[in-house]
């Protein structure tokens, strides 16, 4: 009888350890996925000054559009918070970039500028990288959140303070479309 009890306790312990380690692993993956997004966001921040410089030479009347991009970039860099806040700032930056490219349509010389063409490809790839990194991050967050809620892993999760994480959400329907920065 005693042995059965010991066996049950041992089994429960083994399960608890496995569940705990599983949670740690997935939390680590979420962290890693987040840093991947971070790398790509930085890449975008780095591209913007160059883009603004290139456009400045051609755009005489739309200074406001350029200023909006610079402002949104600064705000996005400033954000110190969770994924939800960061997502909001990044979405705003994406919007300003969209209107910049829409305005650039009116400048044939700018469109033909070699530097601009390079920047355009760089920005497209960066937007895609952000989208894919976000996709990967959200997949991992979904796994973590499911684990923290599903019985019986939720017992371990609440006992050791594994919190749910925010998704990096896309606010606008337009953003669900594949990103195309084309002229």
């Amino acid at each position: 009888m005693l042995w059965i009890l010991v066996a049950i306790v041992a089994l429960v312990l083994i399960w608890a350890i496995t569940a705990y380690n599983g949670l740690v692993r997935i939390r680590q993956r979420v962290k890693n996925a987040w840093s991947q997004i971070d790398v790509q966001l930085k890449r975008r921040y780095d591209l913007i000054p160059n883009l603004v410089e290139t456009c400045k030479g051609y755009m005489k009347h739309e200074r406001e559009v350029l200023e909006n991009v610079t402002k949104a970039r600064a705000q996005a860099i400033e954000v110190k918070g969770g994924a939800a806040e960061q997502a909001k700032a990044e979405n705003a930056l994406t919007q300003t970039l969209r209107s910049l490219f829409a305005v650039a349509e009116n400048y044939p010389q700018l469109k033909a500028n070699e530097n601009m063409l390079k920047l355009q490809e760089e920005l497209t790839t960066t937007e895609n990288r952000i989208a894919f990194a976000r996709q990967h991050y959200n997949d991992q967050v979904m796994k973590l959140n499911t684990k923290t809620e599903v019985f019986p892993t939720n017992l371990i999760a609440s006992a050791f303070g594994f919190a749910k994480k925010d998704f990096f959400e896309v606010e606008l329907d337009a953003e669900r479309e594949p990103v195309k920065v084309s002229f």
Binding site: Q36, Q40, K118, E121, E122, T124, T125, N128, R129, A131, F132, A133, R134, Q135, H136, N138, D139, M142, V170, R176, P178, K180
Partner: protein, 316 residues
């Protein structure tokens, strides 16, 4: 996914065993007939093992060389590199080596290698010229799915080992032809000697002549069409944009060009069959022996996925 990986590893292992056993068997027959005894078996064993190892470690290089693929330089093909890197982020796979096949007629692509860390993707220049960014992304996602599934390991081994059998049979047939001719010419001077050897070589040539098409058949059966559907589906999941690959397949299948650098041993590696009459047949109906499913059917399945796109995007 994990089932696919272990299935491919198991199949590759079996293929190597069958290949080695087959070559030893051939060596045994040859040795017995010619009176070399066990040395022939040892020789055959060594030959088979060296070949199998070469196939495993250098198979990708062989396939790339046969296909006349050249390493793609980043400065020359920045978009190819960018799109591939984007997809490695989406899939979590390591960056494959990129190759370009200078062929302006046929839009096509394939992946090779022994595992994701040693993988290569080759695309033709026609593919780069005719597809837009989203379509290129679809094609590369399809190829990366083959990498992630270890389809590349099995497909590359099949190509190299079966290519070897074809090469051997070619060699023996030619040898028989030349020595046969030589014997005719020298018949008057000496009619004796080498008669037994000729008989054996002829027997081997006949065996190989029978084996070669049989092996070609095995390729086509083993490289199941299901893999292509699966890679398409994985590509859609990776990009969350099935239409990209669907429209790429449409463009590729409309492209009438035939690839010069593709042959029977590498045909199954490509995203759509590079050999034109095979492709025409495949488009008409699902043949038992075709390596690729009909393109129209693949496009239809992808478009159906796009219809369910709401669910795909919701998790993005």
């Amino acid at each position: 996914m994990y089932q696919e990986i272990s299935r491919n590893k198991r199949n590759s292992f079996l293929l190597v065993i069958v290949f080695v056993a087959g070559v030893i068997g051939l060596g045994y027959i040859l040795g017995e007939a010619a009176g070399f005894g066990p040395i022939a078996v040892v020789g055959a064993f060594l030959f088979a093992v060296i070949f199998a190892l070469t196939g495993y470690f250098k198979g990708d290089k062989i396939v790339l060389a046969v296909s006349r693929a050249k390493p793609a330089r980043r400065e020359e093909y920045p978009q190819l590199y960018n799109v591939t890197e984007e997809l490695t982020i989406a899939s979590g796979l390591p960056m494959p080596a990129l190759y370009v096949i200078p062929d302006d007629n046929a839009a096509n692509a394939f992946a090779t290698g022994r595992d994701p860390a040693h993988s290569s993707i080759a695309v033709t220049t026609a593919l780069l010229n005719s597809l837009d960014r989203a379509e290129l992304q679809g094609v590369l996602a399809h190829e990366l799915s083959h990498v992630g599934d270890y389809d590349i390991l099995f497909a590359t081994l099949i190509g190299v080992l079966v290519g070897t059998v074809a090469m051997l049979s070619d060699f023996f047939l030619r040898y028989m032809f030349w020595t046969g001719g030589g014997r005719r010419r020298s018949r008057s001077s000496s009619s004796s000697g080498g008669g037994g050897g000729q008989g054996i070589i002829m027997a081997v040539a006949i065996i190989l002549a029978i084996l070669a098409p049989l092996f070609a058949l095995i390729i086509q059966l083993a490289v199941s069409r299901q893999r292509e559907y699966l890679a398409d589906a994985n590509a859609a999941l990776m990009t969350r944009y099935p239409e990209g690959l669907a429209s790429a397949l449409e463009k590729i299948s409309r492209n009438p060009g035939e690839m010069k650098a593709a042959n029977r041993a590498t045909e199954h590696l490509y995203i759509v069959s590079p050999i034109k009459n095979l492709r025409d047949r495949e488009q008409k109906k699902k043949s038992l022996f075709s390596t690729h499913p009909p393109v129209a059917d693949r496009i239809r399945r992808l478009r159906e996925m796009a219809g369910e796109g709401g669910q795909l995007a919701a998790t993005a």
